[in-house]
């Protein structure tokens, strides 16, 4: 059973379009992380969100943590082919264990 549910599973868009991926849980979590994984590589941490309602921006990426701390979203503005990859959300349990969602595979077509 996944602690975190991610949607959609797959997303294919044209360069320049916007996209949003979602990460949801039935439980409240203290913090949530977003990672991007490219083929043949390990995941790379993009951001950690901690406070309910928090919004963080990383260039064209906007991350939001729900007020109730049970959901999060990642929005990409004007997507580029370099944004292609697997986007994973993860919550930290017991300080060091990370529990990951199944991920959203994003493909940005040139």
């Amino acid at each position: 059973t996944q602690l975190l549910e991610q949607s959609p599973q797959f997303l294919s868009i044209q360069e320049g379009e916007n996209l949003t991926v979602y990460c949801n849980s039935s439980s409240v979590f203290s913090s949530l992380q977003w990672y991007r994984q490219e083929p043949g590589e390990g995941p790379v941490l993009l951001v950690t969100v901690v406070t309910g309602g928090e919004v963080k921006k990383l260039k064209r990426l906007t991350f939001q943590f729900g007020d109730a701390r049970k959901d999060s979203s990642l929005h990409i503005t004007a997507a580029q082919p370099g944004d292609t990859g697997l986007y994973l959300c993860a919550l930290r349990r017991h300080d060091y264990k990370l529990s990951f969602g199944a991920g959203t595979t994003v493909t940005v077509r040139a």
Partner: protein, 113 residues
Amino acid sequence: GAGVSQSPSNKVTEKGKDVELRCDPISGHTALYWYRQSLGQGLEFLIYFQGNSAPDKSGLPSDRFSAERTGGSVSTLTIQRTQQEDSAVYLCASSLLDTAEQYFGPGTRLTVT
């Protein structure tokens, strides 16, 4: 500096054979983690090492899986009598502290035929 490295990058083995996967963490990182990533699944925690403390093996799926970390640095994950369901990408990560950012290696893709 060098990141986390793993070897081999790909391994194809026959069902029933044993395999060893190696992880070289970032120098100075005391915490080391192994995860498994199966097709369509997120990363699944396997085992955690921190300094000289007893490892947390709670994520190992069966007693065919074992891991060791020698000298607080290099780690080896061993899978005995491999089964087809063991086919996955095995990822290693290290961090400076328990709660610090985990840096992942590129993974070893294991295929059991």
